[in-house]
């Protein structure tokens, strides 16, 4: 069956196992969810523009906060990072594809269905409202009797499965499929941060899986893991959530750090400063990331020992992070800087991320944190690292690799306009939140009285969010304009890059490398182009060959069917009487798809 599937059209996208196409699908889905999360954010900011506003009710606001946070993290930053992993990993390490191409498709479809399930909650007017960390016992049956929380629990469970499958795939790909000569310390830095991210995913996800299963049991079967009435403990959820949740924030930021570390050298025409130290500090961040979860819980009464240890560990993380920041600055130092849009985004990352890091290290001190906890100061902090940090870097990556992916440059003028709108809007929105937090405005409130002295900064923040939205519109216009006019065609090595993907045509052929690459140096492509004293050499671009001569994995329907089966299992939990029949039917589909998959010719 697989062999006669078409090469173009909708079916070809549904059945594709090509890592480049899957990467594109991840990115498109992520931007769709960004739109959802962005609209939610704007609604919230509009509600908070003036005191005693009645645009949305308190209940709706709770849902908006929850869905905005969950969407931005699990449905925007993570999948957009996954889009980069997918598209770039095999190209950067000189491999024909990932280790398990069909599993790659599977993780995409599971992710998409999980995201749709989560957002379907809006359609049935049961959007989850327990906050993005869904604290027990607010989320127990007693206080949240409807299915709203179940959407969150099953949505996140499914998304976690997708990430786990993808993580195993990328880890094996990176360690097992590098081209000849690419030792670990000759891998591009983005591949290193990808590798560390996958390790974090592999070790952190099972913990949230267990916690979510426990919550499902509490809600569906009546156990009392998080219910003090029967001896359970509310705090257990917090521990489990943050043992996953803190590594999770590094899962969000490490890929962004990798992207920035690729962009800065290219546009400074200098190698990354202290590559090896960058590698070690990424590993150190990944390792320490598992030792600091309780800094999210300083106000729960952990006791002095735990507070001291977690506080010290948290401060320790600032060291490898600081090392990275100095390395980025040193990379720029003395370089021949080209201020492209991608470069602007990457440079703003350094500034904004440092800013967010500084407010972050402030709440590593428990007495200070007890002032910050649950105020707008924290909201300001994490938006500086997540938005000013991760999202700015990801947009930099989009501008940098778009010509490689589609063969056309994005419009630089519009790109720069978007960049400045983002910078302006972002800082207008989130800088004043530091003041609001210091003045005691709590987070997750749907409105406030007019006599608190919070009016001005709230209005400023809201106007800033509209400026940001304008930047978003600019991005959409840019994409549509670029793809409609196809004006500026990109050559293979369109930015004078340093890594292997620039030796391939833009867009790269289906089979990736016609000739298996072999590398001798870090930044090998650069060394093929230039001698040490800067003379130009003629590099060997990858030739074009007839795709028929290359063995490619066959497209397959099974990944999407298997993912659908798992989704049906989850859907069963939303129906009271026929629910278990639906779940069992889903299991049967999953099982049949598994067998179909195994016996299909790969």
């Amino acid at each position: 069956m697989a062999k006669c599937l078409p090469n173009t059209g909708v079916i070809s996208w549904i059945t594709t196992v090509d890592h480049k196409r899957i990467g594109i699908m991840y990115a498109v889905s992520a931007f769709f969810f960004l739109l959802c999360g962005g609209i939610e954010a704007l609604l919230m900011r509009t509600q908070l523009a003036i005191p005693n506003n009645t645009l949305v009710t308190a209940g709706t606001f709770n849902s908006l906060v929850t869905m905005h946070g969950t969407t931005m993290i699990f449905l925007f930053v993570m999948p957009l990072s996954a889009a980069f992993f997918n598209f770039l990993t095999p190209l950067m390490i000189g491999a024909p594809d990932v280790a398990f191409p069909r599993m790659n498709a599977l993780s995409y479809w599971i992710f998409l269905f999980g995201g749709l399930l989560l957002n379907f909650s809006f359609v049935v007017r049961l959007a989850p409202d327990g906050g993005w960390f869904n604290y027990a016992n607010l989320t127990g049956k007693a206080f949240s009797p409807s299915h709203a929380i179940d959407f969150w629990v099953f949505g996140v469970q499914i998304l976690g499965l997708a990430s786990l499958i993808a993580a195993i795939n990328f880890l094996v790909t990176i360690l097992n499929m590098r081209c000849k000569g690419m030792t670990l310390l000759k891998m591009p830095i983005f591949i290193w941060t990808t590798l560390v991210t996958q390790v974090l995913l592999i070790l952190a996800l099972p913990v949230i899986t267990v916690a979510l299963v426990m919550m499902t049991f509490d809600r569906t079967f009546g156990t009392g893991f998080f219910d003090p009435a029967g001896g359970g403990q509310v705090i257990m959820w917090q521990h489990f959530f943050w043992i996953f949740g803190h590594p999770e924030v590094y899962i969000l930021i490490l890929p962004a750090m990798g992207i920035v570390s690729e962009i800065l050298p290219t546009f400074s025409r200098k190698p990354l400063f202290g590559y090896t130290v960058m590698v070690y500090s990424s590993c150190a961040i990944g390792f320490l990331g598992f030792a600091v979860w309780a800094h999210h819980m300083f106000t729960t009464g952990l006791g002095p020992w735990a507070q001291a240890l977690f506080s010290a560990a948290t401060m320790l993380i600032a060291v490898p992070t600081g090392v990275k920041i100095f390395n980025w600055i040193s990379t720029l130092w003395g370089g021949q800087i080209r201020f492209t849009t991608a470069m602007l985004f990457a440079m703003s990352f350094i500034a904004m991320f440092t800013f967010g890091g500084l407010s972050g290290v402030m709440h590593s001190s428990p007495p200070i944190d007890s002032q910050h906890q649950d105020t707008y100061f924290v909201v300001a902090h994490f938006h500086y690292v997540l938005y000013g940090g991760a999202v700015m870097a990801l947009f930099g990556g989009i501008f940098y690799w778009f010509p490689k992916v589609f063969g056309y440059y994005l419009h630089e003028g519009m790109g720069k306009a978007q960049f400045w709108l983002y910078m302006l809007g972002f800082n207008l929105t989130f800088f004043p939140m530091h003041f609001l937090g210091m003045q005691g405005m709590p987070r997750r409130v749907f409105t406030y009285a007019g006599d608190q002295g919070w009016n001005l900064w709230n209005l400023v923040a809201t106007s800033g969010s509209y400026v940001t939205a304008l930047g978003g519109v600019m991005f959409v216009v840019n994409i549509v304009y670029t793809m409609a006019t196809k004006k500026k065609k990109a050559p293979a090595d369109c930015w004078d890059g340093r890594t292997l993907e620039w030796s391939l045509a833009s867009p790269p052929p289906e089979y990736n490398f016609a000739v298996d690459p072999e590398v001798k140096n870090l930044d090998d492509w650069w060394h093929q182009k230039y001698t040490h004293d800067g003379r130009r050499l003629t590099p060997r671009y990858q030739p074009d060959v007839d795709p028929a001569t290359k063995h490619l994995p066959h497209p397959s329907f099974w990944p999407i069917i298997l993912a659908a089966g798992l989704e049906i299992v989850a859907i069963g939990f939303f129906f009271d009487e026929v629910g278990h029949y639906i779940s069992v039917a889903g299991l049967v589909v999953t099982l049949l798809a598994t067998y179909g998959w195994i016996f299909e010719e790969a």
């Binding site: 280790a99 360690l175 913990v207 893991f225 029967g230 016996f599």
Partner: protein
Amino acid sequence: MSADAHAVHHTVTGIDNRKFGMWVLIGSECFLFGALILNYLVNRDRGLVGPKATDIFNIDITTLSTFDLLMSSVAMVLALHACQHREIKKFRFWTAMVILGGIIFLGFQYFEFHHFIHAGLGLTTNVFGSSFYLLTGCHGTHVFFGVLWLTSMLVTSFIRGKEWFPSVQLEVAGLYWHFVDVVWILIFTVVYLFVYL
């Protein structure tokens, strides 16, 4: 199974991708069971009503089922050995023995759960019970998938005939099986033996 065509695929580490993938999954599963065991230890003595661990555990029976599972691991080693040496009869026989060992273990677990429920410890009776069933149930599910997996391979062997020796696939399944066994040794120690400390 179809992946045979790629069986001799060059890799950097020299380890087959599928085997490597299984090792990584096992790393992940360590944290899964780690969380479950931790949760059990926290909740073991927190049950407010219903029976306690000391009231209902039957160490003799559990020792027997532990022995059974360990023996299935031995059979697994022999099955793989036979497969690598292309001895079809032994390969099928020992694979069947592993499956049998798994099924017997699941039978023991069924009777254990049955007995506990009769003794008054249901899933929702108290947190000790909930944590116990969650942990051992999760392990049992893993055994069940292992049985399903190996049964599928055995059936495939009869379909594909006497020249089919899926050494790599069996090794991957074997890694999984041994891991599930090792986890049980941990559970046996932590859940069943620590009670007597």
